[in-house]
Symmetry: C3
Subunit: 171 residues, 3 copies
């Protein structure tokens, strides 16, 4: 019944924060721990990396892959599930590179998150605090990420900014 948006910079500890929060929640609720990864296993290195992360998390976690169909995957989970999505940045990047309709997909994600009947942590990179990027694709990505974060932040119950592993509650 609670959706959280966890924003942070690169290597800020945002994933570890979300994972720890979900594990603490599952301990008390007894819900199933589900990690939804959005990285695409497009080569052997990524297959190996996704597999290693899965092993690192241990057997308590069920892992689902959702490089594109994140709203559908989340809609298919059951009440009581304790879910981390890691991360929205890669999902958005996948959508843009595949030429998908980002605004529509983002809208579907916001709807699913707002009505989610479990505990949900959506992890994403805050990428808007640098100078304007040189290349057009990076600018497009930055704009789409900012728009998605605003829409999600408005829709969810809790928003946390993670800096150097430390959480700053924004909402």
């Amino acid at each position: 019944m609670t959706a959280h948006l966890v924003l942070g910079g690169a290597r800020s500890g945002k994933s570890a924060f979300a994972q720890a929060a979900a594990e603490a929640h599952a301990t008390s609720s007894g819900g199933r721990l589900v990690m939804v990864v959005t990285a695409q296993a497009f080569d052997d290195e990524m297959v190996e990396r996704i597999s290693r992360h899965r092993a690192d998390r241990g057997e308590a976690w069920t892992t689902l892959e959702a490089p594109f169909d994140l709203p559908d995957i989340l809609a298919g989970l059951v009440a009581g599930d304790v879910v981390v999505v890691d991360c929205l940045t890669l999902w958005l990047s996948n959508l843009i590179l595949a030429g998908r309709d980002v605004a529509t997909e983002a809208g579907r994600l916001v709807d699913v998150a707002a009505g989610f009947e479990g505990a949900l942590w959506l992890v994403s990179n805050e990428v808007g605090f640098g100078v304007v990027p040189d290349n057009a694709l990076a600018r497009r990505f930055r704009d789409e990420a900012g728009r998605l974060h605003q829409r999600l932040a408005h829709a969810v119950e809790a928003v946390t900014l993670v800096v150097a592993g430390l959480p700053l509650r924004m909402k």
Copy 2:
């Protein structure tokens, strides 16, 4: 009598935050709503974009253009005006590209903001949280923006950092 600095990343919702704060203020104070835009209408696309933004804001707002002469424009406003400047980043960029004396102009802006006899929201991009940019102009811009923000933050009554549409009050 109150000047605010509103910092945020790209697509962080900083402009919408400032605009909503100004509208709420004007509703109670009865002051005139003034939007000071700093974008330069250097081609048809920008002319069209500035015009569309003006239409989006509606008839309650008076729009002034100040790509360079921002301190003078602000100094010419009257007591009781409720003003948003959107944004300092473009103004600074215009000054740098035109070879103006940035430190002097920044000093004049700080003086006008500190003595402003209305309600003022100055919107600007925080651009210093990425890696050092490759090109010298971007580094110069980043340094000048950081210096301007420090001087303004010291001089004004209120500073807010906007992340994903959510305000974090810094001062």
Copy 3:
């Protein structure tokens, strides 16, 4: 007995914040003010710049240079010293460019900071809030900086994020 991590963007006022905090501390504790600079004096311009900064700080400060051997330099200071390290970003950059074992050196710094018997402010640039950098070295640097900040933030007593000269206490 207290170690602080001071994070901030470029030209955010983080160094001035740390320096002022150290000076206030030394006034009451009577400890010696030590500035540990990590910039390398690899050409005349840098030699001149380091020398100018030293003059700006005034005679109250003792300046030590530690482009590489920061953990050793800190370990050699005496109880009661009031120390600012400015900055970790340059130190990390020096280590990476010289091909040093960054993880080991970072671990040594974390150990020294955690056991420091004086007052210590470690200043560093938060660089992870932009889009993924184009070049591999910048990505590596960003990742190492993020990891170092997380480890230090976990180990030290106080963490402050500086935005536009204003401190936000994170821990």
